[in-house]
Symmetry: C2
Subunit: 133 residues, 2 copies
C-alpha cells in the first residue's frame, strides 16, 4: 500500500502521514524505489491515531497511548489518560463559560448604556477611550 492509498483509507492527508512519522507516531515503513510501502498494521495504527486526535488528545498523549497499546498494557492505563483529559476538557469549558458571561454582559451593558444617547462610558471599552453613541 502506497502513502496515497493509506491516506484515503484513513481519511487523512498525505503530508499529515509524513508529519506523524516525523513526530514519532508512525514507525517508518519499508521503501520500494524510495517510496513508502505500508501494511495493514500501519492502517490500524493510523486509525487509532485519528481516533485519539478526534478526541482532542495531544500528539504527546497520543504517542503515550499508542506506546501503551503496543506494549499491550491493560486499558486501565489508557483510561487514566482519558480521565485526565476529561478533567482538562471540563476546565476549558468552565473558562469559556466565564468568558461567555463576561462578553454577554458587555454587549447588553453597551445596549443599555449607549443606545439612543451619547453615553460617556461604553462598558465594552473600559479603558475609557471609547466614543459611545
Amino acid at each position: 500500500m502506497r502513502i496515497g492509498v493509506l491516506a484515503r483509507a484513513a481519511g487523512v492527508s498525505v503530508p499529515t502521514i509524513r508529519y506523524y512519522e516525523s513526530a514519532g507516531l508512525l514507525t517508518p515503513p519499508g521503501r520500494q524505489g524510495g517510496q513508502r510501502i505500508y501494511g495493514g498494521e500501519d492502517l490500524k495504527a493510523l486509525r487509532l491515531i485519528r481516533h485519539c486526535r478526534e478526541l482532542d488528545f495531544s500528539i504527546d498523549e497520543t504517542r503515550e497511548i499508542l506506546a501503551s497499546v503496543q506494549r499491550r498494557l491493560p486499558c486501565s492505563e489508557t483510561k487514566t489518560y482519558a480521565e485526565k483529559h476529561l478533567g482538562s476538557i471540563r476546565k476549558k469549558i468552565a473558562e469559556l463559560r466565564a468568558l461567555e458571561a463576561t462578553v454577554a454582559a458587555l454587549v447588553s451593558g453597551c445596549e443599555a448604556t449607549c443606545s439612543g444617547s451619547a453615553a460617556p462610558d461604553c462598558v465594552i471599552l473600559q479603558a475609557g477611550v471609547a466614543n459611545c453613541g
Copy 2:
C-alpha cells in the same frame, strides 16, 4: 517612560510589547539613545489591547477594535465585534460539551466492560488493538 516601566504598568512582559509593535498594534514610539520612550497614550492603548486579549479577541480583531476606537467610531461597531465573538465562544463551548460527553461515555463504558474480566473490546480503543483487563 521606558519599556520596562510600561510593561509593569500594564502587566505584560517586555518582549510582548515589542511583539505588539511588530504586529502593528502599538505605534512605534520615539527613541532616546536607541531606547523606546513611551507616553500616557501608549499605556492607554496597551491596556485596551490587554483588555481585548483577556476577552480572547484575536490579534486581528484587536487591531480592528483599536482602529475603530482611534477613528472615534461609535461603539455600536465595536459591539458588533463583541457579538460575533460571542457567537464563536458559544460554538466552541458546544463543541467541547459534545467532546466531554464522548470522553465521559468512553471512561464509564470502559469501567462497565473491562473491570474484573478480560474483556475483548475496550470502548476507549475502538480500533480493536487494545488488550483489556
